[in-house]
Amino acid sequence: MSKGEVIAGYLAPHPPHLVYGENPPQNEPRSRGGWETLRWAYERARATLDELKPDVLLVHSPHWITQQGHHFLGVKELSGKSVDPIFPNIFRYTFELEVDVELAEAICHEAGQMGLTAKMMRNPKFRVDYGTITTLHMIRPQWDIPVVGISANNSPYYLTTQEGLAEMDVLGRATRKSIEASGRRAVVLASNTLCHYHFSKEPEPPEDMSQEHPENMEGYLWDMRIIDLLRRGHIKETFDILPRFIEEAFAEVKSGAFTWMFSAMDYPELAGELHGYGTVIGTGNAVMEWNLVKAGLAKAA
């Protein structure tokens, strides 16, 4: 078996509004569009993902929150209807997904070896969270690639931000090591928004884009500063200022997916491809790609 590799990482935020705006058959509510710049950004990301031909997609979602350890979906086939508890008016999505249980178990085991509390989720009636589903739909609406779903342990909130993100770094290393041993060509997806300040009132209809803009200027400026660093490949500098970004912009990257993804890629000082940026109910969202194949850091299919 050849050595497996992380072949790319995507910052792939999960506002359910993007699914709603697209009107896929799986989602009950109908819209007149909206959030096009972000949805078109995902169209570009879908095209590059397709070229990469990964064996597996791994997603770390802030909406599967666990207190005792880092959990992994561990049932081969999961299906059901996911209703967003915050925005049930726009996201009621019927899903079916296939889990790469073997890889999930390997990462779970490796995380345990590295000192983390880790657990497999084996209950077939488990309801997959809307963050996982939205990110996966937006990046690969065909649902034809097996996935590994990883929970967001609440350590960055329960401990200090730095202590929590240190755990996510370990989780990323466990992920990378397990992928390499598996022979899989893997794409890692960080399901995170950037600045997370949002409006407290939803427009009617929700897709009224005349009401959509950054919730505040400072948050927007922070997003641009971070994106600028990422576009220039200044990854170390990004992580140096990440705690301030998290604190001042209430950034959702606090939940760990962003750190986990970069750790799984071994923090390459590589310029990220910005597919697009936009706000959703005031929050800042960027779809970005780090293509390790294009950069010569991973092999092509």
Partner: protein
């Protein structure tokens, strides 16, 4: 935390509230005592829930009103308006212990009456009526323990994370007021924990205990004040307790209860107190 109130007509409203609230309970929303009733540290809480259930039934409410800290809302104050909620839920953290079946009948009339009224105090409320809406673990635990067989209809509301203690107390007050004006007798149930420190690693569940001795001391102090009906002393220490013991969701579940009974209680029965993977939980009935 303000314990006083003012305004024209408050006395009349107090009376209406006290007449409508026939019982009031504080319970933990953890699924552990329900799913693992044979585990000794959690059996105490399961038995306490059963005792509270008997007392609730004796109070003969028309409707059980639940405020659950685990139903997180962000934009509005959400209320269940689907007439019947039926299904099975798997807890996000404790999935290995099995499913939580539920069958809940909503008091749609009472809920519909409350929703527009909250606007009078600046709280925007919204009903949710969707199949497969993810009912939270805390609500299901309240329903299954305190309303077995789904004999009574329920009104269920959420925890808007941006709402303060005082706003939440106001919600409780308004809920009781509307119930009183409609002639509904209601049991109020605030669902949430006490001290919030928990074990992050896998433990032997048969040896569960409160994670920190200082938390245990704080929890006991608060429960004793409730038991004695010493509301003045309780109000005085609550801010320190909430901060030092990392109380679940700022103890807003207590705010909802206190609002509903106009902060008037002569004492409380502590049916049980115990650990929930290191965190504290208690089953308490307030006597008005």
């Amino acid at each position: 935390m303000e314990s006083s109130q003012s305004g024209i007509g408050k006395s009349r409203l107090n009376l209406i509230n006290l007449m409508s609230v026939v019982s009031a309970f504080l319970i933990p929303g953890s699924p552990l005592p329900y799913l693992q009733q044979d585990n000794p540290p959690w059996r105490t809480l399961a038995e306490a829930m059963n005792s509270a259930s008997v007392s609730l039934a004796r109070s003969e409410p028309d409707t059980v009103v639940v405020y659950s800290t685990q139903w997180i809302a962000v934009l509005d104050q959400l209320w269940q308006t689907q007439p019947r909620l039926e299904g099975s839920h798997v807890d996000e953290n404790w999935h290995e212990f099995g499913e939580l079946p539920y069958d809940i009948t909503i008091d749609t009339e009472l809920t519909a009456a409350i929703i527009p009224i909250t606007g009078t105090v600046g709280i925007r409320s919204k009903g949710v009526n969707y199949n497969a809406f993810p009912v939270d673990t805390g609500t299901i635990i309240a329903a299954n323990f305190l309303n077995p067989g789904s004999l009574r209809q329920m009104t269920i509301t959420s925890n808007n994370v941006y709402h303060s203690w005082d706003i939440t107390k106001e919600l409780g007050r308004l809920t009781a007021q509307v119930a009183g004006e409609m002639g509904r007798k209601v049991a109020i149930v605030g669902v949430g924990g006490l001290s919030g420190s928990f074990f992050r690693d896998i433990i032997d569940i048969s040896e569960d205990r409160i994670a920190r001795e200082s938390d245990d001391a704080w929890n006991n102090k608060i429960l004793n004040l409730m038991k004695a009906g010493d509301s003045d002393a309780l109000y005085k220490v609550l801010p320190s307790y909430i901060e030092e013991a990392k109380v679940d969701m700022g103890f807003k579940h207590l705010a909802f209860i206190l609002g509903s009974i106009d902060e008037q209680f002569s004492g409380a029965t502590i049916y049980g107190y115990g650990p929930l993977y290191g965190a504290g939980g208690a089953v308490v009935e307030f006597h008005t």
